[in-house]
């Protein structure tokens, strides 16, 4: 089974890209595990397209920690379902997060409408991706596409940049071709994340909602404001 991690900011077009990808897989069986925070409607979109899907909502837990704690069982689910290409789709990550795993093909989806400096701000989920998929390029000028690609290269000089149209599917064919080069993954135990997850073990992690020094306990970081 090939495993692929897909991450990207909310509404960048991850689900649409994966749905278009499914159409280019030449009979291979695609399965998706969607990781989200509080709500998600995407698992239904996959099932409507006949794609087996699982939904994991992190709820009160840090989405990145939730992902690491559940991804191994996800791989087992894929094996049970006889899936050939298993995609984990992570939304609701902060820009500090990244679900990419060393040795597992990783994709970051960014939207060309999101602003020219966005690729430089997204952080490790883009910086450590093998493939950066740029969506919605059909509605911005060619020049902006080129500048946007340059901005992606600034943040990640080694990634393959591909433009995919999530509506018409243009470009999904090349993405599928690239992903088919991924090696097979049978187990994740002992595999490593490409970037550390955010650290936090403080009173707010355990349900504190009140603001004020008196309620702040555990590991936390204070900003230095000018006097």
């Amino acid at each position: 089974m090939k495993m692929i991690t897909v991450a990207g900011p909310p509404s960048s077009g991850k689900t649409s890209v994966i749905l278009r990808l499914a159409e280019c897989l030449d009979g291979l069986r695609l399965g998706v595990i969607k990781f989200d925070c509080l709500t998600s409607f995407d698992a239904q979109r996959y099932r409507d397209a006949g794609i087996p899907a699982q939904l994991g909502l992190s709820g009160k837990f840090c989405p990145d920690h939730f992902f690491v704690n559940n991804v191994e069982e996800g791989l087992a689910w894929g094996a049970r379902r006889g899936i050939d290409v298993l995609v984990t789709e992570s939304a609701g990550l902060c820009n500090r997060c990244s679900p990419h795993i060393a040795g597992i093909t990783s994709v970051c989806v960014v939207d060309s409408l999101s602003g020219i400096n966005t690729p430089r701000k997204i952080g490790p989920m883009l910086k450590f991706a093998d493939i950066v998929v740029v969506t919605k390029g059909d509605i911005v000028s060619q020049a902006e596409r080129e500048v946007f690609a340059w901005s992606v290269r600034q943040a990640n000089g080694s990634a393959q940049i591909l433009s995919v149209n999530g509506i018409t599917g243009q470009g999904a064919f090349m993405l599928a071709k690239k992903l088919m080069q991924a090696r097979d993954t049978d187990a994740l135990a002992g595999a490593r994340l490409r970037f550390t997850t955010p650290a936090a073990a403080c009173s707010y992690c355990t349900g504190e909602t009140r603001i004020g020094e008196a309620y702040q306990m555990g590991m936390m970081r204070k900003m230095e404001y000018e006097q």
């Binding site: 060309s112 409408l113 020219i116 430089r120 490790p124 059909d138 509605i139 911005v140 000028s141 060619q142 020049a143 902006e144 596409r145 080129e146 500048v147 690609a149 340059w150 901005s151 290269r153 600034q154 943040a155 000089g157 080694s158 393959q160 940049i161 591909l162 433009s163 018409t168 243009q170 470009g171 064919f173 090349m174 071709k177 690239k178 970037f195 550390t196 970081r221």
Partner: protein, 341 residues
């Protein structure tokens, strides 16, 4: 190829930055702007606090390698060689019938693609965009300079060889025309110091865009505030002057305040290979040849005949007439019979 690793090892940061100004972006991207630039990168990093580096997930040993990789990818982006011809080898139509077509398009020529909506015009442009090698549903093969394209080159060239222009495209950046052109020039000319000819290139591109646009605009106009015609004019001029892509795929340029014939002439003068999907007789007949698509396949390849060129002159007259009537309307004048003369 420059040995960036050796340079980073031996030279002070300010020397590297003066030679490669783009290196400044690398430190901004990493949130490392406060290094002592009079030192080498390794020495400057020694002075940075462990805690700070750890907070941002950075390790001292990796940063010099990352900078070397950054500089090589930022400078390598420029190496896209111009191509002199594109050849389309026919595949199959929607029913699986062979197309039996072969079409070579040389730099500086225009091919129009015509056919009913849904016949497969976009599919043909899509095959060119991904440099199909008999592996798309149409089974077409695209040759570059007469040769098949390797898998590696398809990915390497992907996105860099083909520029696209369509009626749905808009500018979305919050920049003025001048800022925008300078930014595009900078993204192209990062290797050179100072960006070679960028200043004049921007000027030339701006003047050309203004010449193509029906209504003039100034360099301090926001690109998002340009009219449809002005946007189109700027996109075409930018494509001719700034883009490194040798192939331009155009999905219809409507007659919205932009000189269509001159736009095509500009692109061919820039030695581009232009394919334009259109229903517009003026554009279709301005092309050297036209490909007729039917049922997903190439049905005919027609060379524009002398008689058609004669017809084109008549069509241009009608186009000018419509243009004059439009100008009269917009200017608050009466559309009289004198307009048509």
């Amino acid at each position: 190829m420059t040995d960036f690793a050796a340079m980073i090892d031996s030279r002070a940061l300010d020397i590297i930055i003066s030679e490669y100004p783009v290196a400044r972006d690398f430190f901004l991207n990493l949130n490392l702007p406060r290094l002592d630039a009079s030192l080498t990168l390794a020495d400057a990093l020694e002075a940075a606090s462990d805690e700070w580096l750890e907070e941002f997930g950075l390790t001292r040993s990796e940063i010099p390698d990352q900078l070397a990789q950054f500089l090589s990818s930022m400078t390598a982006a420029e190496i896209v060689r111009p191509i002199s011809s594109l050849t389309i080898l026919g595949g199959i139509d929607k029913d699986g019938n062979a197309e039996n077509a072969e079409l070579r398009v040389d730099a500086g020529t225009v091919i129009s693609v015509v056919g009913p909506t849904g016949s497969g015009k976009s599919r043909l442009l899509g095959d060119i965009e991904c440099l199909a090698q008999g592996d798309t549903p149409t089974r077409r093969t695209i040759l570059i300079d007469g040769e098949a394209v390797s898998e590696e080159d398809r990915f390497r060239l992907g996105g860099g060889i083909v520029a696209q222009l369509s009626q749905n495209m808009n500018f979305v950046m919050d920049l003025t025309v001048a800022e925008f052109l300078e930014m595009h020039a900078r993204s192209r000319a990062v290797a050179a110091n100072p960006p070679a000819g960028a200043e004049s290139l921007v000027g030339a591109c701006f003047a050309c865009a203004n010449a193509l646009a029906g209504e003039k605009f100034t360099p301090d106009t926001k690109v998002t505030q340009l009219s449809g015609g002005q946007s189109r004019a700027l996109m075409i001029a930018d494509c001719a002057y700034m883009s490194h892509s040798s192939i331009v795929l155009i999905d219809e340029i409507e007659n919205a305040g932009v000189d269509r014939a001159e736009s095509l002439a500009l692109l061919t003068r820039s030695e581009k290979i232009v394919l334009i999907s259109t229903h517009d007789p003026l554009l279709a007949l301005s092309a050297d040849k036209r490909v007729v698509i039917k049922n997903g396949g190439i049905y005919k390849i027609l060379e524009t005949s002398d008689e058609e060129k004669e017809s084109l002159r008549e069509i241009e007259k009608i186009d000018r007439l419509l243009g004059a009537a439009r100008a009269a309307l917009r200017g608050g004048e009466r559309v009289t019979t004198s307009v048509s003369r």
